[in-house]
Symmetry: D3
Subunit: 138 residues, 6 copies
């Protein structure tokens, strides 16, 4: 039933997020922002991308995050790269694995894409560190 | 010393190849083909790509193969994709992991790149099966 | 129910095909070719691409064909461009509209992508003319 | 005569603009901004892109706008996408057709390009609504 | 007058061709092949690309060939790359400059595009050598 | 020895910079910014890109700058384009040659990439003029 695919996708998306950081709200914020002009696109992300593709067997969440990040570095689609470095870390990738994956792409995409991706990774790392500091301060 | 970087790269490249299939000869064939017009490019592949980048710590050979394949699917550079699906399998990826990684890219690259990549994967799988059959027949 | 999405997609795909040409079999042939290594990808094309996206209101089939062709010319993914020029003609685009759309892209993609796309269009037109001739000869 | 091609292009460009919004000035602003370093580029846009390509028969202005937008979403060239969503609306596309065209590209470009394009569409829609409100307020 | 732009473009195109090789006929063959379905595209190549852009002052023919080849290597549009390596050699680039320009792109595009481009360069060099041999044999 | 490759790259990089402008510091700033998360990437830029590729014979520094700029315009990687227009000017390209090279790409990449690149060129020219003014004022 359709509802199950949506719920399925939402559950899967939750695995890539932490209750104590802003990933899930960022993902849902994208849907919210488009709610007025393109409400179905957010639904397709949950139902198709997370409910069908991410819910498949055969790769770990960490492997799916590696594949996603590698494609986004290659495309140079930066807002999505920021989001998926974040969800990748939540899915269990270490910062070192993220940096190594991007660095590994130098022979395949050249330096420009890699440098832009590393700047985004640095920004994501620093934002997550701040969140952790804030949480600890409470 | 320069010689060490080259030897280092060659050793690393060997990890991605089997003595009983044609990977290593394909890689070296690329260098051979370009030997007359661009001899240094084969050298850079060995020294820089394999001797420096692939020789870094922080990712397993399987993870490096996943990252490489994901980038090549996204770029649509098909001769290299064929080569790297082959080396990925040699590095330890299962056929299922190769197919899953390509399938996972549907939401990020769309269907056309994915379909073209799956056709190449199918071709590589079938060539490797034939080689195994031939070996067994001997 | 899941079955309905699949049937829905198949019905929509049929609108883009003629019983007397090879479009539908080409689309299904893609699924068939991948049946052994990636059976779900053919299912996603029917269920998601045709059953959800193509089944949306808001654009005519001809408009959807124009949008698809324009994206494929821009990407340079040629096997898919051949298929979608074919389905576009079946959906009601005239040959002139196909050629004009490709020509219109000169200022946006430059000449190389446009020239490659026109070569494919020429090939598709000539294959369809032959099919019509064969049908008339019977 | 050369002057006619320029005038022809300017007339065609006017069809894609309204006297009561900022499209025409945006187009001309691009030429103005480049007037000092590359004066001929603005001339080529008017003479070649509008005077020759857009002035061809065979597609309606709305169809040309659809083709243009589809290519720019696929390329991810965002400043131009903003401009051409604007001119597309002026040429007669509805907001729904713009959103549907972008949404239709999910299976061909993946979600990242589509999400970035929808954000731009949302921004353009809201800017045009404000202009209309301002006009009504007078 | 329009005729002058066309003649101007044809004259410029001639500078990139030799009477004793097949460049000019290849360029004109493209136009001939598209004569039936898109006759104006060949005209735009002559009038706009050669008659206006290539006819500008400020760069030598060799520099224009370098810029063109670098863009085509980056795009991976291979049929055009073959043509423009040919015209680049006719315009005065040496084989070494062609190979060096492609090799120089490794840090900017990665190895895959560079390797595919070098294969094409090798093919073009060998075809031109054969033509020279044939001419000498007469 | 490794140290020599690094020194070699640094010397070559110096040729593309002036003591009285900010190029060298921009290049080194990139390495500095990534020092904490990816220290080796800056090293690869110096050792491999400048120490090996840029240090090759066969092209002048001006030609290498032309090739680099043409690739970056085609890719649309804007932060790097800004940097390399700057180093290209230092390497001896005139502003006119930079503008002409970008303009020459209209038939190969279309107008969008060219317009975005010209905006960046304009910004770089104006920043360099200001630096010269500031220097003269002292």
């Amino acid at each position: 039933m359709e509802k199950d695919r949506y719920q399925n996708g939402l559950d899967k998306l939750m695995e890539y997020t932490l209750t104590d950081n802003k990933d899930i709200s960022t993902h849902l914020k994208i849907s919210d922002d488009l709610q007025d002009i393109a409400p179905d696109v957010g639904k397709y992300i949950i139902e198709f991308a997370y409910g069908e593709i991410y819910s498949r067997a055969g790769l770990t969440n960490k492997q799916r995050a590696l594949v996603t990040i590698s494609s986004l570095v290659t495309q140079g689609t930066e807002p999505q790269l920021e989001l998926h470095i974040n969800t990748g870390l939540t899915a269990g990738l270490t910062k070192e694995e993220v940096v190594e994956s991007i660095t590994h792409l130098i022979p395949y995409t050249g330096f420009p894409r890699v440098l832009n991706a590393l700047s985004i990774a640095k920004k994501v790392f620093s934002m997550r560190d701040e969140e952790v500091s804030e949480l600890k301060a409470h």
